[in-house]
C-alpha cells in the first residue's frame, strides 16, 4: 500500500514536470499559430493586404473588424529590411511580432509624427555591423531590432466608419516592406 502511494506521488511529481515542459514547448510546436496561418497566403518580405474581417473569412481569430490590415512576413537572413508606410487621417499602427506571435515593438502614426513612417528592421547582429558614423549621421533613423530572424509586421489602419474602409485599405496598399538597399 505504501509502495503504491509512493509510486502515485512520483507520478504526480513527474506530471508537474510534464505540465511545465509541455507549456514551454507548445509555442515551438504549434502548427496553427499566426505565422503558420499566414505563411501560405503571404509572400516573404512584401506587404500583403489581408481580407477585411468578416464572419466567413477569419484568417486570424479576434481581429478588429474596424481595421484594414496588411501583413509583412519577414525573413532577415538576407539582410535588413525597410518598412515604409504612409499615414492617414485616422489611427494607424505598425506592430512587430516575433516568429512566435510575441509583440516586441509597436508604433502608431502620432508617435511617428510625420507623413510617412519609415523604419529599418534588423537583427541585433546586423545592427552591430552598421558602420558607426552612419548611425551618428542618421539620428532620425528609426531602427527596430528583431529578436528572431523571421516574424510578422502587422500594419493596421482604422476605418472610423464602415464607409472609410476603402480609404484605410488604400493607405495600406501604398505601404512597402523591402530589402534595405544602401544608397
Amino acid at each position: 500500500m505504501i509502495r503504491l502511494l509512493l509510486w502515485t506521488l512520483a507520478g504526480v511529481l513527474l506530471g508537474g514536470i510534464v505540465h511545465l515542459s509541455s507549456v514551454l514547448v507548445l509555442p515551438r510546436t504549434a502548427t496553427q499559430d499566426a505565422y503558420s496561418r499566414l505563411e501560405p497566403i503571404t509572400p516573404v518580405n512584401a506587404v500583403t493586404p489581408l481580407p477585411v474581417p468578416a464572419p466567413d473569412n477569419t484568417v486570424l481569430p479576434f481581429m478588429d473588424a474596424a481595421f484594414a490590415v496588411a501583413v509583412c512576413r519577414y525573413d532577415l537572413s538576407g539582410g535588413p529590411l525597410k518598412l515604409i508606410t504612409p499615414v492617414g487621417q485616422a489611427y494607424m499602427s505598425a506592430t512587430f511580432y516575433t516568429r512566435y506571435s510575441i509583440p516586441y515593438y509597436a508604433i502608431n502614426d502620432r508617435a511617428a509624427g510625420r507623413r510617412t513612417v519609415e523604419l529599418e528592421l534588423m537583427t541585433a547582429e546586423q545592427r552591430s555591423q552598421l558602420p558607426e558614423d552612419e548611425e551618428v549621421t542618421a539620428a532620425d533613423r528609426l531602427i527596430v531590432e528583431s529578436p528572431t530572424l523571421t516574424g510578422l509586421v502587422m500594419l493596421r489602419a482604422l476605418s472610423p466608419e464602415p464607409s472609410f474602409m476603402p480609404v484605410a485599405r488604400g493607405l495600406l496598399a501604398a505601404a512597402r516592406c523591402q530589402p534595405n538597399q544602401p544608397s
Binding site: 509502495r3 503504491l4 509510486w7 502515485t8 512520483a10 507520478g11 504526480v12 511529481l13 513527474l14 506530471g15 508537474g16 514536470i17 510534464v18 505540465h19 515542459s21 509541455s22 507549456v23 514551454l24 507548445l26 509555442p27 504549434a30 496553427q32 499559430d33 499566426a34 503558420s36 496561418r37 474581417p53 464572419p55 466567413d56 477569419t58 486570424l60 481569430p61 479576434f62 478588429d64 473588424a65 474596424a66 481595421f67 485616422a90 489611427y91 499602427s93 506592430t95 512587430f96 511580432y97 512566435y100 506571435s101 509583440p103 516586441y104 515593438y105 509597436a106 508604433i107 502608431n108 502620432r110 508617435a111 529578436p147 510578422l152 482604422l158 476605418s159 472610423p160 466608419e161 464602415p162
Partner: protein, 192 residues
C-alpha cells in the same frame, strides 16, 4: 516485476496529470497579470515581451496576435457585472464611458474569436460612430432584435465575447488597479 509495473504506473499517471493540466489551463485561457475593471479584463503584459508562458502557449495555440502595448490595450468581457455569462438571446446593455483613448472599438465575437454573421453586417462600433449623450456617455444595446440607438446584433448566437480595444491610450501595463479607469457597466436584462 513490481519495479516495472510501478514505474509504468507512475509514467502513465505523469502523462495523464501533466498533459491533462496543460490542456485544462489552455482551454480555460489561464494567464497571469490580468487587470479587471467590472466585468472587463485585460492582459496588458500579453502585449509585451514579458508575456507569461501560459499566455504564450494560448497565443500560439489559438493563432491570435495580441495587441502590442505600444498600440493599445484590449478588454474582454464574457459576462455581465453580476457574473452572468452572455446569452445571445438576451438583451445586454452597456452604459457609461471609456477610459481616455484616441480611438476605441467595441467588437462582438463568438467564443472562437470569429465575427458573428448578422443581417445588417454590424460587428461592432468605433468611438466615432457611436451615438452619445451630451455628457459624452453612451448606451449600447447588444440584442438579437433591432433596436434604436446603438444596437449591436448578436444574431441569437449561444455564447459570445465582447472586446473593447483602446488605441493610443495611457491605460496599460502601468495601471495595476482599475481605480483610475472607468469602463462601461454591463447589465444582462430580459431573456425570452
Amino acid at each position: 516485476m513490481r519495479l516495472v509495473l510501478g514505474s509504468f504506473f507512475a509514467f502513465v499517471l505523469a502523462a495523464i496529470v501533466g498533459l491533462g493540466t496543460t490542456w485544462l489551463t489552455l482551454a480555460r485561457g489561464t494567464a497571469f497579470g490580468g487587470v479587471t475593471i467590472g466585468a472587463w479584463t485585460a492582459w496588458p503584459k500579453t502585449g509585451t515581451p514579458d508575456i507569461d508562458p501560459y499566455a504564450r502557449a494560448v497565443v500560439a495555440q489559438t493563432g491570435r496576435l495580441p495587441i502590442g502595448s505600444g498600440d493599445g490595450v484590449a478588454f474582454y468581457a464574457t459576462g455581465d457585472d453580476q457574473g452572468r455569462v452572455f446569452d445571445g438571446r438576451c438583451d445586454v446593455t452597456l452604459s457609461g464611458a471609456t477610459p481616455p483613448a484616441r480611438f476605441w472599438t467595441l467588437t462582438l465575437y463568438d467564443r472562437e474569436g470569429h465575427l458573428v454573421a448578422n443581417s445588417v453586417n454590424r460587428y461592432g462600433f468605433t468611438s466615432q460612430e457611436i451615438v452619445r449623450r451630451s455628457d459624452g456617455s453612451f448606451d449600447v444595446v447588444v440584442a438579437p432584435r433591432a433596436r434604436g440607438g446603438n444596437w449591436l446584433p448578436t444574431a441569437g448566437v449561444d455564447r459570445y465575447v465582447l472586446v473593447l480595444r483602446l488605441y493610443d491610450t495611457p491605460v496599460g501595463v502601468a495601471s495595476r488597479t482599475g481605480r483610475e479607469a472607468t469602463m462601461p457597466a454591463i447589465a444582462q436584462g430580459s431573456c425570452p
